[in-house]
């Protein structure tokens, strides 16, 4: 009987870890999602207005994406640390 309660507690813990890992990644993905969308949208606008500056805009865009994306990736690492 005691073994069953311990097993049930372990299962509860695993389920809680899995769902909180899911929440952590979901929350971490909101901000960078909005950020990257806004960033790329603005860059496309800039490239369409000034095609001759496209190379420079693209380089800066990739830099910006790299910084914004880091937040989502840290969320992904947290997801792995809690969930698996």
């Amino acid at each position: 009987m005691e073994a069953f309660t311990i097993l049930a507690q372990e299962a509860d813990k695993a389920a809680a870890a899995a769902s909180s890992a899911g929440f952590a990644y979901g929350l971490a993905a909101i901000g960078p999602g909005i950020g990257i969308g806004y960033l790329v949208g603005k860059s496309v606008e800039a490239m369409a207005r000034q095609p001759e500056a496209a190379g420079m805009v693209r380089t800066t865009m990739f830099l910006g994406i790299a910084f914004t994306e880091a937040l989502a990736l840290i969320g992904f690492v947290v997801f792995i640390l809690i969930g698996l």
Binding site: G55, M56, T59, F62, L63, I65, A66, F67, E69, A70, L73, I74, F76, V77, I80, L84
Partner: protein, 251 residues
Amino acid sequence: MLALEFPPINEILRWQDVFPSFNKIAIIAVAAALIGTLIFLIAGNADGSKAPRGVRNLAEAIVEFIEGQIIMPTMGRDGLGWTPFLLSIFSFIYLCNVPGIIPIIQMPATARMAIPLFLSLLVWIVFIGVGFKHQGLGYLKSSLFPPGVPAALYILVTPIEFISTFLVRPFSLTVRLFANMLAGHILLVTFALLTESLVQGGNIALVPVGILPFFMLVFLTAFEVLVAFLQAYIFTILAAVYIGGAAHPEH
């Protein structure tokens, strides 16, 4: 119900050790270093007076890409001396990333923490060294006390600048490369498992449904080709930005 058994994370990231502590990742990393060296050795020994062809053509295209797309926009003409360093970082990371989509091997060496961590610590040491070499102790002053800020705000700004320049930079370089490659690898594993369990699950009605994750798998493999290149590019361009910023502070 589908019996979808996702393997534990250790199983999809590790092979049997060939020798103690010398596994698939180490083999891929050593192979990447050797192939990169070999390409540029062959290209360097080719006859430079004729039109380039074969390996030399490829090597020249890579060097031109590094100089034109990475160094010129971030460091300007003064940074061209950094071409060999950034070129070796770029080719090593790219050759470590690409095995993630080569059938049979299918493991990006950068999906383990060790290789990205080593590379970003290298970049960290290099850009701090360059800062002290070019500006002496003024490097600490220009990076910790940015000009144009009211004196009272330095209480706030200096700790933030210290953390973001000296602690977060190597951490974010590492995590960006590592997590991107690991995420891609896990995605491929997920869709491969889904296809396998749908097609071979024993339920005839589910076999046609298995085509959907298979198409997703093909699409994601094509996407990983892009990601492998893009992550190598981003790592190198960030290294160039950090080194350029340490050599010439903004006024």
